[in-house]
Symmetry: C2
Subunit: 726 residues, 2 copies
Amino acid sequence: MVAARHLSAERGGESDRYDLIVARAPVKRRLATTAPQPDAAVAPLADGRRRVVIEAVSPEVEGGRFPSKRSLGERVAIEADVFADGHDAISCVLRYRHQSETAWTEVPMLALGNDRWRAEFAASELGRYVYTVQGWVDPFQTWRLQLAKRVVAGQDVAPEMEVGAQLVEAAAGRAQGADATALLKHAEALRSGRDAAGVPVKSPLPNPLPGGERELPSRLPGGEKVSNQLIDLMDRHPDRSEAVTYPRELEMLVDPLRARFSAWYELFPRSAGEPGRHGTFRDVEQRLPYISSMGFDVLYMPPIHPIGRTNRKGANNTVRASSGEPGSPWAIGSDEGGHKSVHPELGTLDDFRHLLRAAEEHGLAIALDIAFQCSPDHPYIREHPEWFRHRPDGSIQYAENPPKKYEDIVPFDFECEAWRELWAELLSIVRFWIEQGVRIFRVDNPHTKPFAFWEWLIAEVKREHPEAIFLAEAFTRPKVMYRLAKAGFSQSYTYFAWRNTAWELTQYFTELTQAPVRDFFRPNLWPNTPDILTEYVQTGGRPAFAARLLLAATLGASYGIYGPAFELCEGRAKEPGSEEYLDSEKYQLRSWKTDSPDSLREMITLVNEIRHENLALQSDRGLRFHPTENDSLLAYTKSTSDLADVVLTVVNLDPHHTQSGMVTLPLKALGLESDKSYQAHELLSGARYMWTGPRNYVEINPHASPAQIFRFRRRIRSEHDFEYFL
Amino acid sequence: MVAARHLSAERGGESDRYDLIVARAPVKRRLATTAPQPDAAVAPLADGRRRVVIEAVSPEVEGGRFPSKRSLGERVAIEADVFADGHDAISCVLRYRHQSETAWTEVPMLALGNDRWRAEFAASELGRYVYTVQGWVDPFQTWRLQLAKRVVAGQDVAPEMEVGAQLVEAAAGRAQGADATALLKHAEALRSGRDAAGVPVKSPLPNPLPGGERELPSRLPGGEKVSNQLIDLMDRHPDRSEAVTYPRELEMLVDPLRARFSAWYELFPRSAGEPGRHGTFRDVEQRLPYISSMGFDVLYMPPIHPIGRTNRKGANNTVRASSGEPGSPWAIGSDEGGHKSVHPELGTLDDFRHLLRAAEEHGLAIALDIAFQCSPDHPYIREHPEWFRHRPDGSIQYAENPPKKYEDIVPFDFECEAWRELWAELLSIVRFWIEQGVRIFRVDNPHTKPFAFWEWLIAEVKREHPEAIFLAEAFTRPKVMYRLAKAGFSQSYTYFAWRNTAWELTQYFTELTQAPVRDFFRPNLWPNTPDILTEYVQTGGRPAFAARLLLAATLGASYGIYGPAFELCEGRAKEPGSEEYLDSEKYQLRSWKTDSPDSLREMITLVNEIRHENLALQSDRGLRFHPTENDSLLAYTKSTSDLADVVLTVVNLDPHHTQSGMVTLPLKALGLESDKSYQAHELLSGARYMWTGPRNYVEINPHASPAQIFRFRRRIRSEHDFEYFL
């Protein structure tokens, strides 16, 4: 915090001194000739012998301003451009540590070619990791490399032995104990031409070096003796007196697996009861087997708090509710309590905790809704009028987005004089629910609250509970959505619902799954929500719902549906051109016939099974689109980085007609041999096809299943394998 | 320098403390929850009400570590993503100052849409500019915007007048004098519903706002009075108490025009004399009219210093020169002097200064070669043995790139103990030639010297002489070439010589002319050099030389040729497969028949005239490639940003056969109307074609001219214009 306080003090002062300058002042003053940046990698004259440059470290979000994100158990690859002037060999290491450690762990980086280097570590603990890169010019490696070239060229290398001996002696000076003794013996051997055992040594043979362009033949003419021991010893005692460390220590936030791979089910608990009766947490418990059997792992409920009465909205968003209407659960707060209370009609806090435990037994985590806003009846309004904006006439300022008014909602004033107290209270709300056992929060409209607020709140929560997950429900401009993700949200809603054509989906998901976005933004794909009923599903019926389900579940490692509306293909809009549901659950109870024969339940169950069985679908990193020669067919693969799992999905985006086309795959990039047949196993139907070469025919009838999901099996030609396909 | 010294002290200390840690230490320590970066834009809790975010400022090279580059007189556009949470209007300004100024000049930024903002300033002085961005939430602008929406929706806006009056009163408190008085009157007018003249006011009408998505109808129902004066007053006295300033002050280096736009001619002065006689500076003066008449503006000469005798190379790079052979001018230094001396056979220092003045009279700047290396006879070797590396036997270390040896060259040891003294001496060499009047330096093999050395040397020189230009002759790995440019080189040699196909040229020049590369790397395109005689020109003859000339001169705002070898189409290689010339001037005198009828002199003269007449060709920013439906035809336009000048070049890359194809142009992007005919004026032949629509036929016979260069003229339909084409 020290650095941050220091900064803010400076910037506060800068702003206090603010004075608008329009004309140029003629005062002349020489600037320092060197760049004034405090993160300068090279400070000339002070540091003239530090020759290594480290650039383009990846991942790095906004120059290190924000952490990148990974999930528990992942292998994390860190890359950097590391190079020096001239032709000397360099060495470099990744340094990393978990936030709980004070000492660095070092991993040698390997050259990928073109001056790019890489090292990996396992994200084995939740929380923050810190990492940076260090590199140095390596004279011994340079000497070995050059020696090999001299040997290959048939030059007399005897004079070089003394040069090598001096380098080895210097290393002995940096080593201690047995290593020092051994190094001195090696130096003597290089000088004398005989090793410790008296065997003649001409030169220590270089091993193949990392980095294609510098690789040498593994055996040299003359059959000189390899001294791997010397090479190991020199690697252990490098001269790092002129090493360069990347000037920034970057952070990586390691979240639980569910932050990366999750299937959400949204349910209004008040609709979980018998028809006509207000549902309760106990009723929700009865729904758990249904939800769990479909393969979901997060159950998200809209706000469960007491609902305001003043200006309560009626069914279909009428301005005033009639008596007995339940109102919107997002109009939080009444005489019965606020954000730390439970709506009495749903049950008690004990009932809620009981539901949490029951859900856990079904493999379901409960996600609560964090909607930081109040009904006009919220206790805060009486107890803390200073947290709200008032009109000149003294009345409270309702929520509005002129000319629209939301009179059942009062927003907090995040800029009020007492903002510190307000922020602290809002944090205490999250902590309260964490104490009850909640770890996942879906945050309503985070984009209407300051970024700094979320950055602070999420960091505070995750400091004590790194397992906490926050999903940002922001449907707003792209840069605002990305900034919220950088500020700390674990997952984010997306524009997926409105991306319907092959071109739109390809563009958008390419952007989301490539650097830099993929390093901080985790998409969670929702084909519907209580606020979003797209024209595509309104007009496309069941095949459209099925297509959007299969897209969401295979394009996104995390996805969710608002049910039972989704699986029952509820597509009736309030009016033509509207994305609002007719008889929306936001304003009234609904009763759902979940045993309908038209339900998508079976398809959902199947696709969630496929997701669990295929690691490739559990991450968004390996996504790649492929041409189909038919704009209604979208084809893409997801692959694990080792290509052990490759899943091809082909979706017919036309919910009305059968479509067919040729799917062209980059076989080599997918680990398939181009001159052999391979098996394409369609996982939804169980059908198996023998495919050959990169172009293969696909035909999809949307009324049967609007997508096909293929897993590839390669031939194995070992006599030890009795099964023809592995 | 303070910040840099502080940093290096820290980093030095860090390295001294180095201790290799392999196992993880179990010590647990909590990190601060907020990001530890000193450039954090938001410090939560200290700064909770600063809601604006500033990201992606452009140009910005390596996070501000290096300056971006522009040339004198350019309009510089600075862009940034600036936004806040929610729907409030924001304002932002660009702040900039020249290094000689202490006060900022501010320019309001205009919204481009999608939260991107832009402002411009004129780079009217050489040297460094500093710039940053400041933004704030603007409550008055928000109020105006919302008021307009309320008016459009027919709402009663009377209650809003008091809100506005309070904002205006607050501004009066920030203002002084007449502004304060006027603002108070406006506040009163808003309250009373009547303006100062007693005219009823309903609401101050908003002007159209910047930013497409927020734009409003310019006239509102009801005809409310516009109070432009109030809007101006409020713009002059914004509330910036919670303004956010981008945490970095970025630098921009403004170089002379020749850094951006130049045509170089390389000449060995020793070949400028009568056949068989060693040429002199006086002989070079005789060549000036010839060079100047072709339109060149920089005359570059290989090193002009005394040449060593020990291990001098003979003709065609034989290991030992025979008596009387001149040796390589890059083997610098003999009893007659070193880097601050003139080779006696060329003349005296006075002769050199005379040449400088004579060249200037011909519009030519002399570029000297900076080759920081020595012959074994250089006085430095005797006077400063500590600046060189020695073998264990005490002998000096010659240059080598094992297994190759260069025994006529001794490299400096930039890492020697006395490196500070060495660096200071090398700087003094550049200063010496600056004192003689030289301002342009072509630096030999800068990639074999430390980046930090160049960063320091160039900054030191340009601090006193911002008009100095340094061209980096580095043919090495791409990241090394780019880093040299970032470190300060004004121009750089490129891979142009080896990019021959349409695909290669398109890929490479797209990379060079887009961000981030274009912000720091200025290509200088050489179809040949004394070291580079490509297979393309060896085999393609005169049409190949002509094609490479026209490519270089139209793809690159800066280009150069090594003459008279180039214009005389010297294509004889030392041996098949070699890029070395037979009888290379590097090792012997040559005599050139510059009046040959096959010379490209006329074509060179013409293309240089075309370059001078077309602003589009004087910058690399407006380059764009276009499809031709024939892989042998490469088509591209260069345009000024206002599209006042658009030049299309079509090159036949096949030096043997006539090629034809259809060139498809994006007419709208080039400022041409798609439904009108336009004139394509071919500047090399003078021919004029009437073209229609985006696709037009081109046919090119390489034996006539391997390229066509078109300038477009648009129809003007004003009755005031008598000329049919402007």
